[in-house]
């Protein structure tokens, strides 16, 4: 075995991914804020001609946040913490190092091109899977390159036991790989004819109800394996590390893991309640969604209990605040989802703004908070600099928390209102409201959401600024902080 003395963890790739996480986060949220404002003030649809309408921009927003921000955040944290819990440095393997860098560049360039295709309306038409066939191929390559790193690192590890975060990242890798491949299976029309038409176009391998099932089996579990599993993995590493407290119950974390794996996939059909998929399947999706509360809350409670008796840290360390509030929003989101999956509730909630509200308290409150906290934690260790400003971080925390609360409360009320108005029957037994009545009534809530978007985006800009100043002007650290992240 090599001597450990001269060895250091190598964060080159982690740094690169950190930059793009911030970049894509900003872009995704900027577009998101524009979308929110467009719904409140439709004149904003005409800023850049056909490329600026709500409908054209929406996939740009969702895909940039999912495949841009979240996925690069997952990569950045992976290249950081995997070395640490496997106790092996990237510098120890030239192959993994080159693969890591190649992974970054293919990813970055691929992501840029993919975003541009969406702006031009080159789309396969399935939500969260809009990319056309050739971009799918690039995505598969990017994913496999990450897989090489995962298994490579695990192969040369010193720590025998795989820490639970590694489990979650592995599941993220496997889950997304499987779902993405099946859902995006399609046939390019150009090659099925003598070169007729556009080379971009393809048709789905599945049709109608089958396509819907595969799509939501994918769509729901893209949330599972993109927005839940790796983020849980993140908090299982970063919260204990930042606070110096070992996980409250390691056993509970293992249990929750298998529970999540087992239950999550069943729940996909709750996106198709009251549709033309068979009744029994809807019932299964609905019932398993409720069971899903268990593993989700298991993880969240485990996190909150890890901080038991540590009020000082919560009061003084904004990073801990970020992670605790992220767990809280995770709990909110993971009970809201199951309750919305109950058939009677779904009859009201489906197709309304309550659903985007639910999605955003998960993503804004849980995914983004956790990712930002992780990057804040990593920065002083990667660049050996102190965090530039604790005060800015505090301001950012309150701005963004307010924004999330505004977002989900306004969409909550809007969704329930609209859902009930659609059903409302007058004294004669006929519908009371024409569709447009149920749209105009939402205006105030859309304005509130727009404000919350601006607030959240501003908070994210503060985050980016703070990171930038940390990297360029933070006070130098002589040795790596053990637990608590130093900040000025």
């Amino acid at each position: 075995m090599q001597s450990n003395a001269a060895l250091e963890y190598d964060y080159t790739v982690a740094k690169l991914f950190t930059y793009v996480t911030i970049l894509f986060g900003f872009l995704g949220m900027l577009v998101g804020t524009i979308l929110a404002l467009q719904l409140a003030f439709p004149e904003l649809n005409y800023l850049i001609g056909e490329y600026g309408t709500f409908s054209r921009l929406r996939p740009v927003h969702t895909n940039t946040v999912i495949f841009g921000f979240t996925v690069s955040g997952v990569f950045a944290t992976w290249y950081y913490f995997a070395q640490r819990v496997l106790k092996v440095s990237m510098a120890e393997s030239k192959f993994l190092m080159i693969m890591g860098k190649a992974h970054f560049w293919v990813y970055f360039i691929g992501a840029l091109i993919a975003t541009i295709t969406l702006v031009f309306g080159i789309s396969a038409g399935k939500e969260y899977a809009q990319y056309e066939w050739w971009i799918d191929i690039v995505i598969v390559i990017i994913w496999l390159m990450w897989g090489v790193n995962i298994f490579g690192m695990i192969g040369i590890r010193r720590e025998k036991v795989l820490y639970v975060s590694i489990w979650y990242y592995l599941a993220c890798f496997l889950g997304i790989a499987m779902l993405y491949l099946f859902n995006n299976a399609s046939i390019p029309t150009y090659f099925m004819t003598d070169g007729l038409g556009s080379i971009n176009h393809s048709v789905s391998m599945y049709s109608g109800t089958n396509d819907a099932l595969v799509q939501w089996w994918y769509g729901h579990n893209a949330v599972a394996f993109g927005f839940t599993v790796p983020i849980v993995g993140m908090i299982y590493y970063f919260l204990p590390k930042e606070s110096g407290q070992a996980i409250y119950s390691y056993k509970l974390s293992l249990l929750s893991f298998w529970g999540l794996m087992f239950v999550y996939l069943w729940a996909g059909s709750h996106h198709l309640l009251w549709s033309t998929v068979p009744d029994w399947m809807q019932t299964m999706g609905s019932a398993f969604s409720i069971v899903l509360i268990l593993p989700s809350w298991g993880s969240a409670i485990n996190m909150l209990l890890t901080m038991k008796g540590e009020w000082n840290q919560l009061a003084e360390n904004p990073l801990i605040k970020f992670m605790v509030i992220a767990s809280t929003f995770y709990m909110l989101s993971t009970i809201e989802g199951p309750i919305q999956a109950i058939k009677s509730v779904n009859a009201i909630a489906h197709f309304t703004d309550w659903i985007p509200g639910h999605v955003h308290d998960g993503v804004l409150g849980w995914v983004v908070f956790m990712t930002m906290a992780a990057l804040f934690h990593m920065a002083p260790r990667m660049w050996k600099k102190e965090i530039y400003s604790k005060k800015l971080m505090g301001i950012q925390f309150w701005m963004q928390t307010t924004a999330v609360v505004l977002y989900f409360t306004s969409m909550w009320v809007a969704g329930i209102t609209q859902g009930m108005m659609w059903r409302a029957v007058d004294e004669y037994g006929n519908l009371v409201y024409s569709f447009i009545d149920t749209v105009t009534v939402l205006h105030p809530y859309y304005v509130i959401r727009g404000i919350s978007g601006v607030l959240y985006l501003a908070g994210f800009i503060l985050f980016a600024y703070n990171m930038y100043k940390t990297i360029t002007a933070g006070r130098k650290l002589t040795e790596e902080p053990q637990f608590r992240t130093p900040m000025a």
């Binding site: 075995m1 450990n4 003395a5 060895l7 250091e8 963890y9 913490f81 070395q83 640490r84 819990v85 106790k87 440095s89 590890r157 010193r158 720590e159 025998k160 036991v161 820490y163 639970v164 975060s165 299982y236 590493y237 204990p240 590390k241 110096g244 070992a246 996980i247 119950s249 390691y250 056993k251 293992l254 249990l255 298998w258 529970g259 087992f262 790596e480 637990f483």
Partner: protein
């Protein structure tokens, strides 16, 4: 027997199988800790003691030797 029947039975038994496995796993976690075979909670330390200099909670190569000696016995 139609495909739906097969599907129904398949789902029923496989769900039971996986549920049993999950409970078995819980049992395993507690039993092996009680008997003192393993201490799961100490793995929580992996996240905390993660400098490259600190020794691993369980050394990988050591355990392989472990197993080999066991197999020989």
């Amino acid at each position: 027997m139609t495909i739906h029947d097969i599907q129904g039975y398949g789902m029923f038994f496989l769900t039971i199988l996986l549920t049993v496995l999950l409970y078995w796993y819980i049992l395993y976690l507690y039993r092996s800790e009680k008997k003192g075979e393993r201490n799961f909670e100490k793995y929580g330390r992996i996240a905390l003691d993660d400098s490259i200099g600190t020794p691993p909670v369980e050394e990988k190569s050591a355990s392989e030797e472990d197993r080999r000696t066991k197999e020989q016995n």
